[in-house]
């Protein structure tokens, strides 16, 4: 299992801030996780649509599509940051 977190506009689009999910089979990466999320339905394919700008962090460090995901990891998805 991994913990997924969603923040800001991405959280509103998917309608969820946190959940636990089983990892995709094989050698899971952020990319395979996002593929699985996209297949959930319209809100999910919209949130992760090609060309849509989003960021990902694994265990609170910035990551990318190729980053491996392991059991127990915390994977957070969010839009580009706008603090300051």
């Amino acid at each position: 299992m991994v913990t997924l977190l969603f923040f800001a506009s991405l959280r509103e689009t998917v309608g969820l801030s946190r959940e636990q999910v089983a990892l995709p089979a094989g050698t899971p990466t952020v990319s395979s996780l996002v593929d699985a999320l996209r297949s959930r339905g319209e809100r999910w394919s919209e949130a992760f649509a090609p060309g849509k700008s989003w960021r990902v962090a694994v265990n609170q460090r910035m990551a990318d599509l190729a980053t491996p995901v392991r059991p127990g990891d915390e994977v957070a998805f969010f839009p580009p940051v706008t603090g300051g």
Partner: protein, 151 residues
């Protein structure tokens, strides 16, 4: 060597900057930046905003940015305080303070920390406008400002 806080409440700028120099005789320069909530953005009237963040990652991202500043310039001490939650125009959002022996390092490091904070620290602003809530889009000009510190 770096004081980092994320909090809902306001901060006292004078008191926070005093922490960087109190009891020291080697500080020759103290540069600071305070960001505030404006009442307009991109042609929209702003009644208020809510700042969301990623607890845990935000603090470590800010600490990492300060560590990069300390590695890059000869700094004595730094402080970064960022507010979260509901804010209204005129409220302070963020404080960056940098103490060093000479002004050049303090000015540059203060700007570097703000440029990196705006593009790397996980905060998101949602503005309240007369037309409803509106998530603020990231600006390319902020990316460009952060890029110039590379190389």
């Amino acid at each position: 060597m770096a004081h980092v806080r994320v909090q809902a409440g306001d901060f006292d700028v004078g008191r926070e900057l005093d922490v960087l120099t109190r009891g020291r005789r080697d500080v020759g320069a103290l540069a600071s930046f305070v960001g505030l909530v404006r009442d307009a953005n991109d042609g929209h009237a702003i009644q208020g905003m809510t700042l969301e963040h990623y607890p845990g990652m935000t603090e470590s991202a800010l600490e990492d940015i300060c560590a990069q500043a300390h590695a890059r310039w000869d700094l004595i001490d730094t402080v970064v305080i960022h507010r979260v939650g509901p804010l209204v125009p005129g409220d302070r959002i963020v404080l960056v303070g940098v103490a060093s022996a000479h002004r050049g390092e303090a000015f540059e490091a203060c700007e570097f920390i703000m440029d990196y904070l705006k593009t790397r620290a996980p905060f998101w602003k949602k503005e309240d406008t007369p037309e409803g809530g509106r998530w603020v889009d990231a600006r390319e000009s902020d990316d460009a400002a952060a890029e110039r510190w590379k190389g």
